[in-house]
């Protein structure tokens, strides 16, 4: 096969896959969580959101502690260690909480979603559901999508809060930064709309993209053990790259001064 044909085929396949995933998302989003589907949605919120909490909490704690430690080393050199609270809060709210939460989410919940849906496809459970007259997009995909969309911002809030607590532990309790300065500088410098809301907007976008990638990869995979393995890997790789790429674009749009 000539390189030109190979390139053309690859491009067409990629475009076709993007088209299929867009139609898939549109069809799945038509099914809003309804009262009778609330149980399914809550169950997925538990698996996708609550079960991700331990890894989010532990990561948030350590990242907050590391920022405080590194920040203290730099800031104390200029005699500005009172600004530690501001540094910890801004780093977490603007960047680290939404990005790291999304990366961890892709690795834990995203890969689990892909593998679960893929296995349901490989064992013909999705086909049998169709034959019973139940649309898998409504019954299987929609609750997982909405659970992912809603879990990500909530997990991001947990990450930020626990990260700030970690920063406080290291900065105030261990390194001796003044408690009043730590909180006061944070309150004085963090602007709700610019920092908190923008950070949450990022997490909403990441939640949509990562969950979309995860469920589509599961639904569209080749139903073999190798197919499931490849799709799970693709979820983590595509999800992580999408988060990092989108983070740059969103940061440029939100904070760039053009």
């Amino acid at each position: 096969m000539s390189p030109l044909i190979f390139l053309g085929r690859k491009t067409l396949n990629t475009l076709e896959s993007l088209g299929r995933s867009a139609i898939f998302l549109a069809q799945a989003l038509c099914h809003l969580p309804r009262l009778e589907g609330a149980r399914l949605w809550l169950r997925q919120m538990y698996f996708v959101g609550v079960m991700s909490l331990p890894i989010i909490a532990v990561s948030g704690l350590f990242i907050g502690m590391v920022i405080a430690l590194q920040g203290y080393l730099v800031l104390s050199g200029f005699g500005a260690d009172e600004a530690l609270g501001q540094m910890v809060a801004l780093s977490l709210l603007r960047e680290l909480a939404p990005v790291v939460t999304a990366l961890l989410f892709a690795g834990r919940a995203g890969s689990a979603l892909t593998a679960e849906i893929g296995l349901m496809k490989a064992t013909e459970q999705l086909s049998s559901m169709e034959m019973i007259g139940v649309d898998p997009l409504r019954r299987v995909i929609s609750p997982r999508l909405w659970a992912g969309f809603l879990s990500m911002p909530i997990l991001t809030v947990f990450f930020s809060v626990i990260g700030i607590a970690g920063g406080y532990l290291v900065g105030v309790d261990w390194l001796g930064v003044d408690q009043g300065s730590f909180w006061g500088n944070m309150q004085g410098s963090v602007i709700f709309m610019d920092d908190v809301v923008n950070g949450m907007l990022k997490s909403v976008v990441f939640g949509v993209v990562v969950t979309w990638i995860a469920v589509f990869q599961g639904y569209d995979l080749v139903p073999t053990s190798e197919g499931i393995s490849r799709a799970t890997t693709r979820t983590v790789v595509f999800g992580s790259l999408a988060v990092l790429g989108l983070d740059f674009i969103l940061t440029a749009l939100m904070f760039g001064e053009f």
Partner: protein, 270 residues
Amino acid sequence: MSDSTLVSVENLHFSRAGRPIFSGVDLEIPKGRITAIMGPSGTGKTTLLKLIAGQLTPDSGSVHVGEDNVHRLSRQALFRMRRRMGMLFQSGALFSDLSVFENVAFPIRVHTDLPEHMIRDLVLIKLQAVGLRGARDLMPAELSGGMTRRVALARAIALDPDLIMYDEPFVGQDPISMGVLVTLIRRLNSAFNMTAIVVSHDIKETLSIADHVYVIADGRVMASGSPASLREAQDPRVSQFIQGKPDGPVPFHYPSKNFYEDILAPSEVS
């Protein structure tokens, strides 16, 4: 399509990854009868069931179920149509997170508003029919292959569909279960006037219950008729298949070069 026909397949063409599976298949499934679809492995019998159910789309040709042209229905209409169908998958395809009871109750719960005690009664009746009432609390992972398919059958008939499609219903069944299943398929058909399509390799059992048989090979209907007429068919391909002879016009081996030349050829492994 006549009033006595439930499913009508006309000039069906279907290919997968460029390989033609069907090249002009025509067949009719009469209402209230058991129709068997037989043929060598890889001829697309399961694919035909999926085309009838609208899970696959043909390249050309049409499939009508009742008045509905299956592949022209909207997604919602297709799902409505499938409520009148049941399908027994080769793998059983039970929902792995639900117990045996809940698997059978699933279609009743999603399509009816029956009270819980009635759902319980209906599920137990269906499980009793397949001999697995006592296994109601087991999870699918705890069932053998044969039991899985019997639970799947109970689920497929949970809503007493007009049409039921059996994909290899006898595979993996012990002789006792096999006999019960054969009787059950026959009884469902005669008691509830349920139309059945049976895809199977078990010639003896299938011919014993089928009213009409289609033999498919090379992408076309090779022969059709009553079980008796097929047993006496003169066509060497049909008689080879029906009598299970290893030698005949239908090759056992996948196309390849001469065996001796292949064995004596210089090794391809470096």
